[in-house]
Symmetry: C2
């Protein structure tokens, strides 16, 4: 595996395509099993896999954890290589945003809710950096984790609307044994917070069972069910609990109206955690631009 | 030359690249000598040339001339073929913006002034549609006329900021014998307005001579010089007269501080016309993304 730091070198390396299929796994580094499952799937499906590690300042708001976001490039290098990456692309901020960058890609509508409401500008930053990575790498397929379900929806919408020649592949959330969704931010948690964090998925699973048993039929009921259980967890404060259509992220009344997502964001101490389940549970559908 | 109306057919046709260089000339149709000079230059430099004809609703404001914008596809087909186009891409509005498109590409800063100030949202529409065309066609080079100097600057900035793998080639403004810049909108002019329209370039040329003779040194003086002469033309109302740095489009004091643009927009009856000169006069520089 090669590690590349500049756009020009990466382009030169990737230019002679010779018909091989190229996969991209965009990450902010501090790789965990979730990322590695993306890399493994990319390596299975593609002849060449680029993993990017870039902590994108554009998607952090003021007061967010940009400065303390965990980083360990040496460990990332090793893990990415073992999982099957061919190239690790690790540009610096100045390489990605040379002075005077003025262009933003904005997806409206489905960025107003969930994390978009709590983190204004976040998805502009995501859409803009992913758009840059797509132009730099020109991948055939790009792999994203369903834990960031809204991010997947935003990127699928962008790819569709701007006719980007790439297939977006959403991959299932990878969880710890006790159900906590893998996240680079889990390292922030104290042992006590770590125990409490299991309530997120436990609650989403309970709600799924209730829904499957026909005891939750309305979105508002499901929100209330989840909210009540989360509120019982000490030291946990709710950012949002929402049940929306998926992937459109529109409000809905009855849960059988369409595919839906139950999504939660909470703070445990100073750490923000998100999780979600899709109802009915099935594989994310792939999306290609028209 | 083939005429193609759908994105899918165009992609299929262009897919086997075999290393040939592909040029794109995006237009809104009703082709004139300005467009044809772009097509000819593309045909000289590239093995395959796609000309797109799409009157992009996104770049027209409310009350602008979207509905009456001149169209003549049969004539365009013939002219484009004679000039050396291989493919004429003529998608409909529904093909380019299927229901529910939510993504916008926005270049901030240099879109606030000149036509951006008079036509809010115009350059978002331009950046978004050009971004789509770049993703659909995946050209090596894209050709734009310097008559729309601000458009060229906006697209160069977008390509740079989003690392789009395309070279933007600005081409000189083509003029009628009496100096009027070629524009599809010139057909709107009555014979009387057509005569009066020559004042634009005449005035810009006079200002250029004054500048070269050292009699215009300040941007504000140049603005005043141009404004006074335009105001003497009957039936002409000024939208803007500005002298800015080019391609940054920043205010400047002394004309020798940097390369600059003298840009004007006027209304003659219900027709809006623009023109510009770059000081000192030289070829537009090509721009590639980092």
């Amino acid at each position: 595996m090669q590690r590349i730091e500049t756009i020009a070198r990466l382009r030169n390396l990737l230019r002679p395509r010779r018909g091989r299929r190229l996969g991209l796994v965009p990450t902010m580094g501090y790789l965990h099993e979730g990322h590695l499952s993306l890399i493994r799937q990319a390596a299975e499906e593609c002849e060449q896999v680029v993993v990017s590690v870039f902590v994108n300042p554009l998607q952090f708001g003021p007061g967010e954890d940009l400065d303390r976001y965990p980083r360990d490039l040496e460990r990332d290098r090793q893990l990415a290589e073992e999982a099957g990456a061919d190239i690790l692309f690790t540009p610096g901020v100045e390489e990605m945003y040379p002075g005077g960058a003025k262009t933003t890609v904005r997806v409206t509508g489905l960025t107003d809710r969930l994390c978009g409401a709590s983190r204004p500008g976040h998805f502009d930053g995501v859409a803009t950096v992913v758009s840059k990575l797509f132009h730099i790498v020109e991948p055939d397929r790009a792999y994203f984790g369903q834990k960031d379900a809204q991010q997947v929806a935003v990127i699928q919408q962008m790819v569709h609307d701007l006719n980007m020649p790439v297939e977006v592949v959403p991959c299932p959330t990878v969880r710890e044994e006790d159900g906590l969704a893998m996240s680079s931010r889990n390292v922030y948690l104290s042992p006590e917070e770590r125990r409490r964090a299991t309530t997120l998925y436990k609650t989403l699973r309970e709600a799924t069972r209730e829904r499957e048993a026909g005891r939750l039929c309305q979105a508002a009921e499901a929100v209330q069910f989840i909210r009540e259980r989360l509120e019982m967890t000490e030291g946990l404060s709710i950012d949002y609990v929402e049940v929306l259509s998926y992937p459109g992220l529109e409000p809905l009344e009855r849960l059988d109206e369409s595919r839906s997502i139950a999504a939660v964001a909470v703070h445990l101490g100073s750490t923000r955690l998100i999780d979600n389940v899709i109802w009915p549970q099935e594989e994310g559908t792939r999306c290609t631009a028209p």
